[in-house]
């Protein structure tokens, strides 16, 4: 099916289908929370959230179609967030004294090394 998001030519059906997919995804996300899949549940839930966001961005916010500059702008925010998350992880993942039990401290990282 060709999806046209340009408002003058857009038909309703693709949007309704997208909306249904969004609702189903929300349901799946809800279910994962009660399944008891442990540490993987957040990954599933945020993965689903990302998919939902992609659908909303591309169809409902009409990212599809020209001008391509909108793609650049749409991605920039998320791209910059990876700087914030990624580079601060160099600290949080390895800082001693920060109770970071979620990310196991490897034995190699010690404070009691035997001197210079």
């Amino acid at each position: 099916m060709r999806i046209d998001v340009e408002p003058r030519r857009a038909r309703s059906l693709p949007f309704i289908i997208a909306w249904l997919i969004l609702l189903v995804l929300a349901g799946v996300s809800l279910v994962t929370a009660f399944l008891g899949v442990g540490v993987w549940a957040p990954f599933a839930q945020f993965g689903i959230a990302a998919m939902q966001a992609a659908i909303v961005f591309i169809l409902f916010m009409r990212l599809k179609g020209p001008p391509s500059l909108r793609w650049v702008f749409a991605i920039t925010g998320f791209f910059w967030l990876t700087f914030l998350f990624g580079l601060s992880m160099t600290d949080y993942a390895t800082r001693k004294g920060w109770p970071s039990s979620y990310m196991p401290t490897r034995p190699g990282i010690t404070t009691l090394n035997d001197g210079p």
Binding site: G97, W98, P99, S101, P104, I109, T111, L112, N113, P116
Partner: protein, 315 residues
């Protein structure tokens, strides 16, 4: 080594000498670069001033050769500096076991220093020469920064955790001790002195401080008073991990992670035990956050350390 230079601060520790050399190298490099820029600019400015009749023909057109050469040269120099600086940094901030330990608590607006033997000082720190001193620091309120200019050594003291640094002083004398992180009204007066003494002098100084209980002994009393010994004591029937010999070993936690039992870990365990449940033990320990002051905590930690026998006997 650099004492002949005016405006050069005292240097009195191994860390200071390491940083000195690096700083001098950077100073020389900076001078060369600055001079290059100044000479180029002055030369061009006078030679090609409006009134001069120097030839303006054949301006440099191909820019990429110059730019790539210049970029590569700076990048190469920067990488050398980076490696050099990072090496010393890692060396400075990974504290070895140390011959002596000193405990420092920063609070608005003073440095409280406590020696393992129980000797206490305020805004002063006496240390022996040529010994590796391990400094364990805590803050009772805001962020402070522990700075000894003559040792070129500084570390912030963040509340909520222990920071550990070390030094090895090599020249007797009295040096400045400062706080370099703005910590409130009297930040400027949160200063003191570091007294580096010869071994015998230091021993004599320790004895003149009056008879004190050692930190570990004080810690043992607190250990009982807060009821820790009820579960962690030798005769306890409660299923709690024994603390004998735990300091400096690796502890396996319930969630599968492995932690080194250093001072910061012991502190976290006391204050927030649920996050550090040891594998195979029930999570029954109450948390003590907000109930024990930083200096008391240090004493309890010192006591637990003393149980491991890896530290020298106190006093």
């Amino acid at each position: 080594m650099y004492s002949w230079i005016p405006f050069w601060p005292d240097t009195a520790a191994s860390s200071g000498h390491a940083v000195n050399t690096l700083f001098a190298a950077e100073l020389a490099l900076s001078a060369v670069i600055m001079l290059t820029v100044v000479v180029m600019m002055l030369h061009f400015a006078s030679r090609y001033r409006k009134g001069s009749d120097a030839s303006r023909a054949d301006r440099v057109q191909k820019t990429w050769h110059f730019e790539i050469a210049w970029t590569a040269a700076t990048l190469g120099m920067f990488l050398i500096l980076f490696v050099y600086g990072a090496q010393i940094y890692v060396w400075l901030f990974r504290a070895p076991r140390g011959d002596e330990e000193v405990y420092v608590v920063g609070k608005q607006w003073m440095w409280k220093v406590e020696h393992p033997g129980g000797q206490r000082e305020i805004n002063a720190m006496h240390v022996p020469i040529d010994k590796t001193i391990r400094v364990v620091m805590a803050s009772e309120d805001v962020i402070h920064s522990f700075f000894i200019p003559a040792f070129r050594l500084k570390h912030d003291v963040v509340p909520g955790t222990y920071e550990t640094i070390w030094f090895k002083a090599d020249r007797p004398g009295v040096y400045r001790l400062e706080c370099t992180q703005y910590c409130g009204l009297q930040h400027a007066t949160m200063q003191g002195k570091v007294v580096v003494m010869s071994g015998p002098d230091y021993a004599r100084w320790l004895t003149t401080q009056g008879v004190h209980e050692s930190m570990a002994e004080q810690g043992e009393k607190l250990f009982r008073a807060h009821g820790c010994s009820g579960c962690h004591g030798d005769n306890s029937t409660v299923h709690a991990p024994s603390l004998n010999g735990v300091y400096g070993t690796f502890v396996h936690l319930q969630d599968g992670s492995v932690r080194l039992a250093d001072e910061a870990y012991l502190r976290d365990c006391i204050l927030n035990p649920r996050s550090f449940t040891v594998a195979g033990y029930p999570p029954i320990m109450p948390d003590f956050s907000g109930q024990i002051s930083e200096s008391d905590l240090l004493k309890i930690v010192a006591y637990i350390q003393s149980l491991s026998g890896k530290q020298e006997t106190r006093r």
